[in-house]
Symmetry: C2
């Protein structure tokens, strides 16, 4: 009965992670130089192979965990990349995922340990195989997502200023936004809460810190930025 399958061929399946971060008012991606053949020394996304005893989603989470030590990270599938020759060594089909993390939560010692670094998404060096395509598609999906879902907060610290939030949206959209219009929109979303705390790092006058209240969001999920 299961002989049905054995007319067919098995294929290596991998996952590749587009890990987005936000730092110095720039959208960044975590990439490293490949430490294995084929493609040794080329800039590349971080990836791994899918095991037979885990789902593809789990493989992506595990791979991210290996690299960052983080769990409960926002990850979404970008899609399958399946050209015959995309991997020069073997036939490997890869499922790309993007992840959103707060750069400050990521122990920077792990960066060196894994030989990866944050690179401005506008200045990515040539990447291995089809990884640039993956990044492009991931960015496009993320840009759409962030408009109507409060996922951008995952790229920021728990407490953030409105200017930080605006800079994030500017980096993602690749264009400047009007400060007053932006703040007007924020003000209409009650789940973006003003705290009494003031950030004095980035300005002399100081700026109020805000917080995303997830519980309040679940009650009134009207998000639009």
């Amino acid at each position: 009965m299961t002989s049905f399958y054995f007319e067919h061929q098995k294929i290596f399946l991998s996952v590749d992670c587009i890990i987005f971060g936000f730092d110095e008012n720039k959208l960044k991606v975590l990439i490293g130089k490949r430490q294995m053949d084929p493609g040794r020394g080329e800039w590349s996304l971080y990836g791994g192979f899918v095991r037979t005893d885990e789902s593809v989603d789990d493989a992506a989470l595990r791979t991210l965990y290996e690299l960052t030590g983080m769990k409960n990270v926002y990850m979404r599938q970008v899609g399958a990349f399946g050209s015959v020759d995309r991997d020069p060594g073997e036939r490997v089909v890869s499922i790309a995922y993007y992840a959103l993390i707060n750069v400050k939560d990521y122990d920077s010692r792990l960066l060196e340990e894994h030989g990866v670094e944050w690179v401005d998404i506008e200045a990515i060096p040539p990447l291995y195989s089809d990884h640039q395509e993956m990044v492009n598609k991931a960015r496009k999906m993320m840009r759409e997502k962030i408009k109507s879902n409060p996922v951008g907060f995952r790229l920021l610290p728990q407490l953030f200023t409105l200017t930080q939030l605006q800079r994030l949206y500017e980096a993602v959209n690749g264009e400047e936004l009007d400060k007053r219009n932006f703040r007007k929109r924020v003000k209409e979303m009650d789940f973006i809460e003003k705290t009494n705390l003031i950030d004095k790092i980035s300005s002399k006058r100081g700026a109020y810190l805000y917080r995303f209240n997830n519980k309040a969001y679940n009650e009134d999920s009207n998000f639009k930025l």
Copy 2:
């Protein structure tokens, strides 16, 4: 050097097709009863396995061709479905694709031959494995796509009436649209061309037939419906 790969496991990779059609003012999907184990007799999407010598996209096109005899069909990837137990027989990861075809172009003898039929998307019977999930995601993606890309015409004959076009959008969106507003929008798109021909089948008075002019669209790609 390539020994790097052989620590890892290969997996069966398949493609599944969500084939959309439009008929009797309803959005339909092509499904059939599985003729093989596991899941024999259950309603299912049409699919096939990915070969090592073809890209995943090509596998989807080939599978669609096997079923319909059609080439140059609009197909887009929906995503990878990779739960461990999604296939009861073996570990199989499947990449779903949706396709848009004009029902009238499809030789209905082939329907019987392959044991598939058009089913109203609002009345799909329980489907094998995770196929309903695939349909849901495909429909969502298609609904977004059709708003800003002129792909809906692939579900219609070359010549169509504005009412047909409107019914298509109503079926996809699942809600009725205002006739005057709809026509106003159509009128602003010069690449939706009025012909001199009149359709007398669907009304006594007769309705002008329209045509999508792809060349004109390429010069002014402002589509919004």
